[in-house]
Amino acid sequence: MILHHTKYFFSQAFNSISRNRLLSLATVTTVTVCVLILGVALLLFLNTSTLMSNLESDVEVNAFLNKDLTQSQIADVKSQIEAMPGIDSVLFVSKDQALQNLQKSFGGESYNLGTTMGRNPLPNSYQIKAKDPHNVPALAAQIDQLYGVDKVNYGEGLVERLFKLTKWIRTISIVIIILLAMGAVFLIATTIRLAIYARRKEIYLMKLIGATDWFVRWPFFLEGVLLGSCGALIALIFLAAGYSSILHNVKTVLFISLLSNSGVLFTVYGGLLLTGAVLGTLGTLISLNRYLDV
């Protein structure tokens, strides 16, 4: 009996799609466009997000030590920093190394800073990374209190502004994606409403003859899923082809490396396909309930 019904529902769904070719095409196109826009927005969001994470993880604290510390005092500072919660790594940079780094950033080996100045004015320091870059300002303040630490530097001011900016970009992107998804549902619901409107007599009759709500819903439901998935699939083909050609041709854009983790991309594409099916179904259900009330 159930098998018989399933066959009936599927044949009804396919019949309806082929009988209302133009409306079916309109629905598929609508889903394709919506999913495509959604997909582009999502990829942009993910890439921006990765970029911002990279920027944020570059944030670190430099703790400059007093010049007159003994070796054991220097080690002591390190263990105190490491004991703080939320510390990822603590790297010792000796004054000699600091000088070399400075010389490198000034243009390499063409002259020797050490001999030019006669002495090394730079202090020993620790380069500290936090597990969560957002904790850096608080940690810096704590480290500053330690005995033996002369001064801390973490790009004060700039870092706070970076964090504020990334927070806004993330919030705005999520809002835009949600709005796009809502717009898509509305658009699809309207298209499917037209298809259902064309068959309102049939639905009315079904209800009067004594069909249950779900018996009426199933074929439309399947139709929505099929058209939605179909539209999403077309969008995905365009999206995947477009993105992989961008990845292929431009490894980096403005020194920003693009997201290319195949696992993440697979999840994104799978999610979009599912979104298409869900959009189709949701659109159908929203439109259908009005006509079921007989």
């Binding site: 018989h4 209800k207 009067l208 003859i209 004594g210 249950t212």
Partner: protein, 232 residues
């Protein structure tokens, strides 16, 4: 008793009082004409019978079950015991005669085997044998209404409700449809027919319920002396 109305009133949201304190009973096997001018409440009464509308006040029983207190989920099952015939036939233009009749069985979940046996039977009964593969557009008005009647009968209803079934048909064709309805009634199905066509009512010599502005003003049976509806 198949149908019982107790003090039924229906007031639509726009404050129109369509039915006013109607009480009536219809027995199994009866043929009942429902007459009255447009707006008298005939359509509302038929809509209440299939629970397309619910009454504002009063109780309605079909087969001894209250359809007013009935849960929404139980409505489909109740409707399967009622067949509905419409003035404008309400056939599906993209389906053949056979498919239109089979449709009524499909939507209540009948098996293909049952459909293949029952549908030709009913099509033959309404006199359309040989036209199974035609589309409604290729049929005359009278033939289309026969398809509508076949669709209403295919699930063997206890009650057949016909709302102006001859409203769109000429006189001769109407007589043919009436013959068919009497025949169906003869075989045991209760029939309630709402109509304007007084000549058909007079010729029918059946029970007549007359509505006027939402009130039941007369209930006359063939045996009554003064069965001429002069008031209408």
């Amino acid at each position: 008793m198949l149908v019982q109305f107790y003090n039924v009133s229906k007031i639509y949201p726009n404050a129109v009082k369509a039915l006013d304190d109607i009480s009536l009973k219809i027995d199994r096997g009866e043929f009942v004409f429902l007459v009255g001018q447009s707006g008298a409440g005939k359509s509302t009464l038929t809509k209440l019978l299939i629970r397309e509308e619910t009454p504002t006040r009063g109780q309605i029983f079909i087969n001894s079950r209250s359809i007013v207190r009935m849960k929404r989920t139980q409505v489909p099952k109740m409707r399967r015991s009622i067949g509905m015939v419409f003035q404008d036939f309400k056939l599906l233009d993209t389906k053949t005669v056979f498919e239109n009749v089979a449709f009524a069985m499909e939507v209540i979940g009948a098996s293909t085997k049952e459909i293949k046996i029952r549908v030709p039977e009913v099509i033959k009964m309404v006199g359309l044998k040989g036209k199974e593969e035609r589309f409604p557009g290729e049929l005359s008005g009278g033939e289309q209404q026969r398809v509508g009647i076949a669709r209403a009968l295919v699930n063997r209803p206890l009650l057949l409700i016909a709302d102006e079934p001859t409203g769109n048909l000429d006189r001769d064709t109407s007589l043919g449809i009436m013959e068919l309805l009497y025949d169906i009634n003869h075989k045991g199905t209760t029939v309630v027919m709402a109509t304007h066509a007084l000549d058909l009512v007079k010729a029918g010599r059946k029970r007549v319920l007359e509505l006027e502005r939402g009130r039941l003003i007369s209930d006359k049976r063939p045996g009554d002396i003064n069965n001429d509806f002069t008031s209408y």
